[in-house]
Assembly symmetry: C2
Homo-oligomer: 425 residues x 2
């Protein structure tokens, strides 16, 4: 028997994991490379940041999944991918060089600070579990400091939070901070008057959740206002020096805690011997053909948030959503297995965002859901798309339970995590 | 009505928490100071280190407890205590100065490196949840590195672990590492041959668990040998340069990961205007009279691991056990409430240690338990002494469940915690 074809998957997010899950390991040798040893669940990172969930509730170690099947035909590699060489068919990480027969690039995105790269050292972000824990620790730490502070001015300064970006991540984190202000402060911090905490949300476009229906935008705005969040739309932050956020109309917000959710770009990757100008499109994403193949390369695919896939409905590329990543992951595995052919077709299942603890807005086809119904829809869709295996149900039940009870046992301050993050960009 | 008397409790461990729980807050104003915002459960720190439990499973935020009672008559202060001034009746922390009418000192212990203070930068320790997370990350990180390593020699080097100290903490962490070697490696790391991992346990006295019965020592030794741990007794580590541990018989163990569990000392504290020579005894602990009062100070108590309380049976001081701390905490609250008087009397309920996942040894009165029975006894005793409130039962059930299923979902590597710890000594 000839050697098995070697498939290397870069990134174990929704896209990469769905390739791994569905590929035929009897016929292919599969290698997964990720900078973390677990698959994270980005839709709930904001809940880790707001002490609603623990990292382990939304992180699934890759080796646990591989171990169930005795690791037959699959290997995990911890590493940061630095370069791909299509000539020698190798991938280089910070620890090793791996050869491939076929390559799936699915590294996802990281924060994009556009014209203000200096923000990287001044703001808090939410693109990984590590970043979420860092924000959690900072928020708890400020509440504790404010509780000991005698000067009201200083307390207000410690407790003025600005969220930049009114997409799902921004709306969700602002909502979670709003719950802290509205419900938790008076229960746990009698030393602080709730109105001493201020939460600003600044969105550049005319409305929140601009990619969703206008009804969803209105519901989100109403939900956040009930949670005492000050929402500003049509304004962009031009600069931030660590103390003062200056908006494009010249107005200023004094704050020492800014959360940036206003932009993403593809994880940077070097593809040697190619013309970067034609390979990469907007936001550093890789342009692909209708089979998710990187242009000019037969056996290299780019999927999920990292690829730019255009069709008639999306001439500028599919949206960067979990649904696209999951569907492309499954598509690629069928393509490699030989059980599917023809171009990839995106089946839009709608989009959603949560506002606060048990409310959500959802646009599914022509239907709009909000409040509790929206939240049930949110749960249902994520359950259906994520849970392939029975064993994961227990994890899902666990976080559902935590979510409803809002177990404040999680509001613990771990000093070990207070130190600088390893930066990915 | 006159001003309420102000009771300040330093430290929210078993001792301090039991004062807080039982003191009459209608009559006294209680302030708790702790360097963490949660009460940790040290008997299970080793399980956090071995990915068996999450920090939130064994950490209870103080504000959650206070919040249940509307914070009536109680306040929490996050801070590191630096000094006590008995003349002005004040306590200084790194954030503030707090006055008191009566003071309860219950700061517990930290690591003691005796004649080798340089070890602080070279070894891993287990005296806090932060330290446990640091060890967890290091162990997982080494397994991942070894899985990518082609050279067997280097793999063995990465996977040689030395535990110094054969008391309960040392036996428990060595047992947990033994389970990793015996059960988890082959399931999750097919790249590593289990015999490439070596676990040494070095104990200075003639037997493991020297404070317990000889039968417990024998059971512990047998249990660890089944888990493939190499146990050496009657040997002390004289030096460790980060690569080589030299024992007192001149023998050497090459290892880059040493876990130190061989000694504790009281948390350092300055008590101004007093004679440190007569105030502090062995290990920096504060000498008290038979009412747990600090000698010569009417309204200052030292309890738990931090105090030296002697009686006929324990002329050198009570053992540093949770049971002593809990009983002294309750005693002090009764003393302050006026509902109890007379000297403190220690009721020895026995001692226990766990070996591996579901085995334990226990000496209770004249009885010795081991294996599964010992483990049930361990659970029962901790349940009885810890759980005053119904709501904590859910947490207990949670960790019991995790413990039995050994949920490997927790084996996640958080980079944020990889950075240096805030040192407490």
């Amino acid at each position: 028997m000839s050697r098995k074809e070697k498939i290397v998957i870069l990134g174990g997010g929704f896209a990469g994991l769905n390739v791994l899950k569905n590929i035929d390991r009897k016929r292919f040798e599969v290698h997964l490379v990720d900078r973390n040893n677990y698959h994270g669940f980005p839709p709930l990172f904001y809940q880790v940041a707001s002490s609603g969930l623990e990292p382990s509730d939304i992180a699934f170690p890759f080796r646990r999944r591989l171990g169930k099947e005795g690791h037959a035909g699959a290997r995990f590699h911890l590493g940061n991918v630095t370069a791909v060489d299509p000539q020698s068919k190798t991938v280089t990480t910070d620890s090793e060089t791996i050869s491939y027969d076929r390559l799936v690039i699915a590294l996802g995105t990281t924060n994009n600070f556009f014209a203000t790269p200096e923000l990287i050292d001044r703001v808090y972000t939410l693109k990984s579990i590590d970043e979420a824990i860092r924000l959690r620790n900072e928020v708890i730490s400020r509440c504790e400091k404010a509780a000991l502070e005698k000067d009201e001015e200083t307390r207000r300064k410690l407790l003025t939070f600005v969220v930049i970006g009114g997409g799902p991540a921004g709306v969700e984190v602002a909502g979670a901070l709003g719950e802290l202000k509205r419900y938790i402060l008076k229960r746990e911090y009698p030393e602080i008057a709730p109105d001493e905490m201020t939460i600003h949300l600044v969105e550049g476009s005319g409305r929140l959740l601009a990619a969703m229906s206008e009804k969803s935008s209105r519901d989100a705005l109403e939900g956040l206002e009930k949670l005492l969040v000050d929402v500003t739309t049509g304004r962009v932050m031009k600069s931030y020096d660590g103390e003062r956020a200056v908006l494009d109309d010249g107005s200023e917000i004094n704050s020492t805690l800014v959360v940036w959710t206003a932009g993403v770009k593809a994880q940077p990757i070097e593809i040697t011997g190619t013309d970067a100008g034609t390979l990469f499109g907007k936001g550093g994403r890789i342009i692909t053909d209708d089979h998710c193949r990187v242009a000019g390369m037969d056996c290299v695919y780019a999927i999920g948030d990292m690829g730019i896939f255009t069709d008639g409905k999306y001439p500028r590329g599919l949206p960067q959503l979990a649904q696209v990543a999951i569907q492309q992951g499954r598509y690629i595995s069928r393509l490699i297995n030989g059980t599917g052919k023809g171009p990839f077709r995106y089946d839009d299942k709608g989009s959603m965002a949560t506002i606060g603890r048990n409310k959500a807005v959802a646009d599914i086809g022509k239907f709009h859901f909000s409040g509790w119904t929206g939240w049930m829809a949110w749960m249902f869709v994520h359950l259906v798309s994520l849970m392939g295996m029975r064993s994961k149900l227990s994890v899902l039940m666990n976080w559902t339970w935590s979510y409803f009870t809002y177990n404040t046992s999680l509001r613990i301050l771990l000093h070990g995590s207070k130190y600088p993050l390893r930066r990915h960009d």
